[in-house]
């Protein structure tokens, strides 16, 4: 394997890939020789990204897709399969968060989260699994919040949708392992999610900075490029032995207590 072209001529589908983490992954995958197709609701961002992707490969595509709508998902999967056949890599970056304490959580936003975070993945998998099985190989990567495993205050419903997605991903992995299809999750920390944007926007720089120090082993906010590198590892032959695994990309947030006052008491910072 050439490490500077880890995805040479691989066909890649990125759902919800027009901005942020999806965009960083798309550009990195394309720079490694992948032929990248993006499915996203945001037409403007999708077209802008397609323009950049075409500089790497003329066959790059953008499919305008509403991942919350089963007809739109079916249409996109049909078009992708007709254009390229089964993908070598499918990366899903969809994720919607309506934070609320459980007694304040309305049912409509919960249903929206279940539809987008959990059901849409099930639908896409249903359309892609058959062709990928026939191809006897491939890599599937789900971007999931680390709350899927850890839980946290104020995100019970969101955590439940992500936890469902995590369990489903591991079952996909078991179902398709005999066909050489690897299925893994990247478990993102809060600093890399939409919640991270909210914290950064609603707090003073110093306050936000203190939050990362207090809650993570690596005391800073993560970068989307750092997630893209992990996705590249799992998408390429570098991750050839790994399936049904969750890669926490969160600065070590899950491995320590959230309320980390003892870092200060212990004196490491002094």
């Amino acid at each position: 394997m050439r490490y500077d072209k880890m995805l040479q001529d691989k066909h890649i589908l990125i759902t919800a890939g027009a901005s942020q983490i999806g965009k960083a992954c798309a550009l990195l995958f394309a720079s490694h020789g992948g032929i990248v197709a993006i499915a996203d609701k945001d037409k403007g961002a999708g077209k802008d990204l397609l323009h950049q992707l075409k500089e790497y490969h003329e066959d790059s595509r953008f499919y305008h897709t509403d991942l919350g709508c089963s007809d739109s998902v079916k249409d996109t999967c049909d078009r992708y399969l007709s254009d390229f056949g089964a993908p070598d890599v499918w990366l899903n970056c969809e994720g919607l968060c309506h934070p609320a304490f459980i007694d304040e959580q309305e049912e409509a936003p919960l249903r929206e989260m279940i539809n987008l975070n959990t059901l849409s993945t099930f639908r896409i998998m249903k359309y892609l699994a058959g062709p990928m099985k026939e191809k006897q190989g491939g890599a599937i990567i789900q971007m999931i919040s680390d709350y899927a495993v850890t839980g946290a205050n104020g995100v019970a419903a969101y955590g439940a949708t992500m936890g469902g997605l995590f369990a489903m991903t591991n079952s996909f992995a078991m179902d398709y392992a005999p066909y050489g299809i690897r299925v893994n999750s990247i478990l993102l920390g809060i600093s890399l999610s939409a919640m991270g944007d909210i914290i950064a926007a609603e707090t003073e720089d110093e306050e936000a900075e203190e939050f990362w120090v207090r809650t993570q082993m690596i005391p800073r906010r993560g970068k989307v490029e750092e997630v893209a590198d992990t996705a590249l590892f799992l998408a390429s032959d570098m991750g050839s032995l790994i399936t049904a695994e969750g890669f926490f990309v969160n600065g070590g947030q899950n491995s320590i207590a959230h309320n980390q006052h003892y870092r200060w008491n212990w004196g490491a910072k002094a």
Binding site: M174, P178, I218, D229, F233, L241, F247
Partner: protein, 245 residues
């Protein structure tokens, strides 16, 4: 843009056991990506063979005789490496202790041997190399243990016992090193000590298993994983989650 063909250019790496198939693949992989590697072996012939294969890629790499069962030998190994390397930024603990005996068959000597090889050796190298990494605010430590920690095998209790503590040690070192940009992670390997292939697993795998293992070590050693610390990665082709064989 990162140079993905030379992910460890200019770095100095230590691999405690380069003598088994996995360790050998790891040493070669790190050297291929530009690192200068110091590695321990129990058999000088294997050391010479590996050195011969990487001499073009990494001419300053070297091996030292090392038995992880010898506590003083480990101290000496660490001292010599520190003399030769200006700064070690990658440490790979790859212990190899494995005695297949049931609890009833085993004796205290087995306990002492396995705890030294699989557990104390890791603590000794951490003590030697973590401090300079912290002072220089740069480093990646990878502790390799066994997936038998989560999926025990019959007749091998001491592998699970001695490897079971590595995860906790990894997390506490990662916690301490986080703000000094020293990352520490654990690999729960499905390739048992001395073997070159994964134990039976559901995943259909093409290509070399030890190469795949070395690729994960490379990923964790390099800046590709710069936001990952305190984690345990299971490399077993999905065996851990398999319910129906």
């Amino acid at each position: 843009m990162r140079n993905y063909a030379k992910l460890l250019e200019g770095k100095y790496a230590v691999v405690t056991n380069g003598g088994d198939p996995c360790g050998c693949a790891i040493v070669k992989k790190l050297a291929m990506h530009g690192a200068t590697v110091a590695f321990g072996v129990r058999d000088p012939e294997i050391g010479e063979k590996i050195l011969g294969e990487i001499s073009d890629l990494s001419p300053e790499s070297f091996y030292l005789m090392l038995s992880l069962a010898d506590s003083e030998g480990i101290e000496e190994f660490c001292r010599k490496v520190k003399e030769c390397f200006p700064l070690t930024t990658v440490l790979v603990n790859n212990p190899y202790g494995d005695i297949k005996r049931t609890i009833i068959e085993s004796c205290e000597e087995d306990d002492r041997y396995l705890l030294q090889v699989n557990q104390r050796s890791v603590m000794q190298t951490l003590r030697a190399f973590y401090g300079p990494m912290r002072d220089n605010r740069c480093g990646s430590i990878i502790n390799i243990s066994s997936n038998t920690v989560f999926k025990p095998v019959l007749g091998n209790p001491f592998l699970t016992l001695s490897m079971g503590t590595i995860g906790g040690l990894t997390r506490v070192t990662a916690f301490e090193g986080g703000e000094f940009y020293v990352r520490v992670n654990e690999i729960l390997s499905g390739i048992q000590p001395g073997h070159s292939e994964l134990s039976p697993c559901p995943l259909k795998i093409e290509g070399s298993h030890v190469e795949g293992m070395a690729d994960l070590v490379l990923f964790l050693a390099s800046d590709m994983s710069s936001y990952i610390t305190g984690q345990s990665f299971t490399v077993d082709g999905g065996a851990r989650r398999q319910l129906f064989a």
